[in-house]
Symmetry: C2
Subunit: 429 residues, 2 copies
């Protein structure tokens, strides 16, 4: 009745949910705030973008995920600021929510390196709406190409450029290559698999820079096997609706996808603290905000160094461990115990390439090929089942593997009137 | 080669697909035109609207469905007219497609009986976008109610009015009642199952008028058991954003759903022929357009009388049988054989009420209760598997049955800023 400490958690991603769960049996009142009603399993978002999975396969209602936790209240609202003096967060609806303890886990958005006008031509991949927008773009390009009589325009429609050679870019390029080269080849009459061109572009000298260079080489080989044209040391210098300029040379395309950079949510601004170059809040080694021991910043929003002195990557395991740590810090403080430093336990880096290849870096051990892919699939299905309690993703992945099918290949929303050029057309012969 | 007859089929619903399939081995060139890229299994659309199934569970890409049929070309475009003299259809893109034979199967849209302004307050249920819009509306109403302090406003937010007591209205009301009363009750903290009110309104004296009155009574009883408040002989006299006026009395609600009337697509206008009161094209007993033996109108777009002299209902079996008949007519004519009349074979009427009740009218035999529901589920899953070749729907239905889960309960698109009233809020006690 008001004597229980109030813990406010902003963001129901991997970090926020881990913190919420770690408080399950605690005598605290938790308010979990998110501007969306669903938790999203972001690592599989590229599968929605390429029509292999449906949005609800990888998203679950936050209320359902935490429904067993009676000390949690879920708020659908957007945080717009933090009033540290008053001890409350400010919401988009105009309301405020008071906290004794605050955990900010609001993630990151895309960064176009100051070229925000590129966003409309090259969507990124962070939300369900991003993914269905990319899916729509890719599928409509194929539809337009099917009846485009002009060879150059058809070529441009069938050119897909993925910008950024990290795990997301590699996974996205591989999945588009499979969609364009294989799954779709049966279904169209004019275009053939050979017509399409999938490019993966990075400004740096190799793919997957977070991995050892031996695994980068494996990934490069595997993705080229899928028919992806990889351009390294190739900075993107401009993006327009009908082309991407790579190192000053225009490549005609109507489908560019951004996987090159992210910028943290503006938590540091709300808190009035410093950031690193990616906008992440600079916090203490215990994840708390300097001068505010009752506020924590975790996950993609936090700048935190690992044991090797390098910044921790923006991946789910980091966010989960930090969420748990922040919750434990709160419980320790309430119990009058001493504050501990956060220590990240690294299990490994994974990236998948197409339907039967993956690379995994366990540190001393590297895993590649089909075995790595099997491990990747199993791990993801297991993680998802943890959140979702259902078999659908496992079934879909397995079924797609067997059949190359893309069952979610539907275009929602109105079909634009310009899907086709104005020419008379005879039925197929 | 130009010597094969060109068959143009407009609309890839049940009728258009049945016609396409019946031409699978024929020496004709088929062009299948649809303004969407997917076939939709409309009978389960209400399950998408109530978050039990995902859009891609009940929609399949048209190209994939007909990919094995090499004599078919699929066009994503919207037909805007028919030039009978020139022998081509006109498309939204400005192109034309010439035909020797034309089958029009463009379905129906909602009819608001001349009150088109009601459409924005009471969406109907015909497309995937309709269903996700209704889902969004229902889920957002629950979210708003969760933090609404004013009792009257909360009551209005938790009042759901389904207009129209046919199978769609009954199914929709039952599914909303389950969502509002049961599945969601675990997940919210302020609102309880008892707060919500689901109304099913019809201007006529009984539900399911296409069924024998004994089954109407069973359905009425079953839906009231689910907590639905049924209002018969209750014409809707107005619909606004915050209320529905039923027989002159305003019921405050923010969620009204239209299941009361449909109007055929404007095929009759394109063809310059007569219609019945619902805008359906009046055609010959062989389904051909009077004076144009090479044009057929089928499914919800056609006014066709059954053996008992009553108009055939707008249901999938009618459309499928008519599609097959039109295709056979074309093949017969090409082979120089004689034209037959269409004769509808009626198998039965089905309607489902909630998660374990259904009514089936086989004519002499009536089936109700759990057995009917099991038959309904099996029939729908089998029909879907025919189109989709996957287990996901069966799995989802079965899983939902076991768990009352609504796995697709995600809200896509931006959350409106007004989700909540502007009041300060303390965490849950």
């Amino acid at each position: 009745m008001g004597i229980r400490p109030r813990v406010v958690i902003v963001g129901a991603g991997f970090g926020g949910l881990a913190a919420t769960r770690a408080l399950a049996r605690a005598a605290v009142d938790v308010t979990l705030i998110d501007r969306r009603n669903h938790h999203l399993f972001q690592p599989l978002l590229y599968q929605v973008a390429t029509a292999a999975l449906s949005p609800s396969d990888i998203a679950g209602p936050i209320r359902a995920i935490v429904s067993d936790q009676r000390n949690v209240r879920v708020l659908l609202d957007e945080v717009t600021g933090v009033d540290k003096a008053a001890g409350h967060v400010e919401l988009g609806s105009g309301r405020t929510v008071a906290y004794d303890w605050l955990i900010i886990a609001t993630g990151a958005r895309h960064s176009y390196f100051g070229r925000d006008e590129w966003a409309m031509h090259a969507p990124g991949l962070k939300t369900i709406d991003d993914a269905t927008a990319v899916r729509r773009k890719v599928l409509l390009a194929l539809e337009r190409a099917e009846t485009e009589a002009d060879a150059d325009r058809r070529r441009a429609l069938l050119t897909f450029v993925v910008i950024g050679g990290g795990p997301t870019g590699v996974e996205m390029a591989g999945a588009i290559a499979e969609l364009a080269h294989r799954s779709v080849s049966r279904d169209f009459r004019s275009i053939t698999p050979h017509c399409s061109r999938v490019m993966l572009v990075d400004a740096g000298p190799r793919l997957l820079t977070a991995f050892p260079s031996a695994l980068s080489a494996v990934a490069l080989d595997a993705i080229e096997q899928l028919g992806v044209e990889v351009r390294l040391n190739a900075p993107v210098t401009n993006i327009a609706h009908d082309h991407v300029e790579i190192a000053g040379v225009a490549v005609p395309t109507h489908t560019a996808i951004w996987a090159a950079g992210v910028r943290a949510s503006p938590a540091a601004e709300w808190l009035g603290i410093g950031t690193d170059a990616a906008g992440r809040a600079v916090i203490g080694s215990d994840l708390s905000v300097p001068g505010c021991e009752n506020i924590f910043v975790i996950g993609d929003t936090a700048a935190c160094k690992g044991p090797d002195g390098r910044p921790l990557p923006g991946i789910a395991p980091v966010a989960k461990q930090q969420g748990k740590h922040a919750a434990q810090m709160i419980l320790a403080a309430i119990a009058g115990r001493k504050i501990k430093h956060f220590r990240y336990r690294h299990f490994g880096n994974l990236a998948t390439i197409g339907r039967s290849q993956a690379v995994i870096d366990f540190g001393r051990v590297h895993l590649t090929g089909f075995l790595a892919w099997t491990l990747w699939s199993t791990a993801h299905v297991l993680f998802l089942v943890g959140y979702r309690n259902r078999f659908a993703v496992g079934m879909s992945l397995f079924w797609n593997y067997l059949t190359f099918a893309r069952h979610a290949r539907i275009i929602t929303g109105e079909i634009p009137a310009d899907v086709r050029p104005a020419t008379s057309l005879q039925p197929a012969e």
